[in-house]
């Protein structure tokens, strides 16, 4: 009460002073607004400049090989003949293996955390899965090379050869190669996908779940017929984010993929992904065309992830707008 009195009683400040303070306030606001807008625009400029620089610097290779670069299966620094096919192939195969292994497993973990686990277990298990996401990728790579690869070579690969066989599992079981790289990638993206899926499941309205339980559905039927259809789009978005991550991952793959420029139908064969080629050869590249070919590889990788991630973002955003309505 007293405060209100003091405000009403106090004499109005003279008009010139008020004008000055208002002007200085608006100048301050304009500066602050300009600074923040500049920083936000900086992000946009950054990504444009990145694509432009990569494009400009890859010109020697673009002009020499044109579109054929993407479909040629040669990598010869001596004769300066380069093609991206084996690297694109290695990237796509390892990513596919990673998704095939990680998506069902993430679904299981998400269902466990959202529906099955008793409350006291949800916190610790959820934290553990999120910690898997925080382990640096180079540690995954090192662990893959020194622990997983010997295990694959001695046990898993011979078993696959004996019991399944076929061209996919042919060749000497060396431990390293496309299959091992894909499995390490799967471990890396597992926590990302499962934590998004868990969030989606937990956001499902309780009324939907309870009505399904009410008519006698089992937990699995609720998951299968309520949770998954309800969160379908968000789940696709989550998988796409994992996909983007797997495509561009460098260190975990470089350790175990075997670093060989060739295309082989066997998953046991050593190969190369775009990222591992860059990691292994970029500092050694002599000659303009060699360097430009590597930069073009980087540009291709950037554009692939760019398209996939943008599509995923737009998808999720549209979903959010639909939910909001």
């Amino acid at each position: 009460m007293a405060r209100v009195d003091s405000i009403t009683i106090s004499p109005a400040p003279d008009s010139s002073g008020r004008g000055r303070s208002r002007r200085s306030a608006s100048v301050g606001d304009a500066i602050f607004r300009g600074l923040t807008a500049g920083a936000a625009l900086g992000l946009f400029v950054l990504i444009v400049v990145m694509v432009w620089v990569l494009w400009r610097e890859s010109q020697p290779a673009v002009q020499k090989f044109g579109w054929r670069f993407l479909f040629r299966n040669t990598w010869d620094p001596v004769t300066e003949e380069f093609g991206a096919l084996h690297a694109v192939y290695g990237t796509l195969v390892t990513t596919a293996i990673a998704l095939l292994a990680a998506v069902p497993c993430s679904l299981g973990i998400a269902v466990f955390l959202a529906e099955i686990a008793p409350a006291w277990l949800r916190g610790p298990v959820g934290t553990a899965v999120e910690l898997l996401a925080a382990v640096p990728s180079i540690v995954y790579g090192m662990w893959g090379l020194f622990v997983l690869a010997p295990l694959m070579g001695d046990t898993v690969q011979p078993w696959l050869q004996e019991h399944i066989g076929g061209p996919l599992f042919s060749g000497p079981p060396m431990g390293i190669g496309l299959l091992t790289a894909g499995l390490v990638l799967a471990l890396m993206i597992l926590p990302f996908i499962s934590s998004v899926m868990r969030d989606v499941f937990q956001l499902t309205p309780a009324a939907l779940k309870e009505s399904a339980y009410g008519v006698g559905a089992t937990t699995w039927e609720v998951v299968r017929h309520v949770l998954i259809p309800y969160g379908r789009k968000a789940i696709v978005g989550a998988v796409t984010l994992g996909l983007g991550r797997a495509l561009g991952e460098t260190m975990a793959v470089t350790f175990v993929i075997g670093n060989a420029h060739r295309l082989s139908p066997s998953l046991f064969a050593a190969g190369n992904s775009i990222a591992s080629t860059l990691a292994n050869e970029f500092t050694e590249a002599d000659g303009d065309v060699y360097m430009a070919a590597l930069i073009e590889l980087g540009l291709v990788l950037f554009l692939i992830t760019f398209v996939i991630l943008t599509a995923a973002q737009l998808w999720i955003r549209r979903l959010g707008q639909q939910e909001g309505r």
Binding site: F32, A40, V135, P136, T218, W220, G298, L301, L309, T310
Partner: protein, 283 residues
């Protein structure tokens, strides 16, 4: 008939629940496996020399990775000094001025795409812009590469945390006659402080564990990184070189480096999460 159907449904349910629990167990086992291997193999390299001495050529003992640890600290701190202010400003614009506009939607998409951009391509970009024109690898280039990776993370976390601050707070401060910039700095930032710090901490821990963007920017060095104008050693790139080397003692040291990096990153992450949970529970 009906009874058999019910038994069947129950069996399917039990199988699905069992598989689901198995996957969760699998996640836990893998985490335990990776961490215990790193700890058991890494602990063999850990001694006083490891933390205070320079690397030695293979065959000589008593070498350490002190320079690489200091280098990682310098690179990460420099990257944070560059990206945190810019990220906070950009996040402020998204939360306070851009909000639902079309331009803000574009910037948000760009930030999210940049967050998922392959870190090795960021390394290539910085090499072309900051290494090749100057003719030498440098700590500056490595720090800039890390900063580019941190920037979108800081931006988006800042935005999210600012949006959690209720509009009523802004409005009451504005109604008292404070200019908007004073309201944002004095009221909104203060209210969102804990969340913003957590986001920054997570971005820093992520950057400290990065290897790929440093390979062609700060490179590596067996000496102290005395200046940001020279190649700067880092724990992760040293780990990569040592692990790929044929020497046993270097590989042991690589596990030691892995233990230090993982320990530091996980400790930061857990601290940040606990902190965030405590502060959000209190409000």
């Amino acid at each position: 008939m009906r009874l058999r159907r019910r038994t069947w449904r129950k069996a399917v349910n039990a199988a699905a629940m069992f598989l689901s629990a198995c996957t969760a167990l699998f996640g836990l086992v893998m985490l335990g496996w990776i961490l215990s291997d790193t700890a058991v193999k890494g602990i063999r390299a850990i001694n006083w020399d490891f933390f205070v001495r320079l690397p030695t050529p293979p065959g000589e003992t008593h070498g350490g990775l002190a320079n690489a640890m200091l280098g990682t600290l310098i690179l990460t701190a420099t990257a944070a000094a560059m990206s945190v202010p810019a990220g906070i400003l950009a996040g402020t614009w998204l939360a306070e001025f851009g909000r639902r506009g079309r331009l803000a939607a574009v910037v948000r998409t760009v930030a999210d795409v940049l967050t998922g951009a392959p870190s090795i391509v960021v390394g290539v970009f910085v090499y072309l812009v900051l290494v090749r024109p100057f003719g030498h690898f440098s700590g500056w280039a490595g720090a800039v590469a890390l900063a580019i990776l941190m920037l979108p993370v800081v931006t988006r976390t800042t935005e999210e945390m600012l949006l959690l601050v209720p509009d009523a707070m802004r409005e009451s401060a504005l109604a008292l006659g404070a200019p908007l910039w004073r309201v944002l700095i004095g009221i909104v930032y203060r209210a969102a402080r804990a969340g913003m710090l957590t986001g920054i901490l997570l971005a820093i821990s992520r950057a400290a564990g990065e290897t790929a963007p440093l390979l062609f920017t700060s490179l590596n060095s067996p000496y102290w990184g005395k200046s940001l104008n020279q190649p700067m050693p880092s724990l992760t790139v040293t780990l990569f070189n040592y692990a790929m080397s044929p020497y046993d003692e270097w590989q042991t040291q690589a596990w030691g480096a892995a233990l230090v990096v993982t320990g530091a990153v996980l400790a930061t992450t857990v601290t940040a999460r606990i902190w965030l949970r405590r502060t959000t529970q209190r409000t």
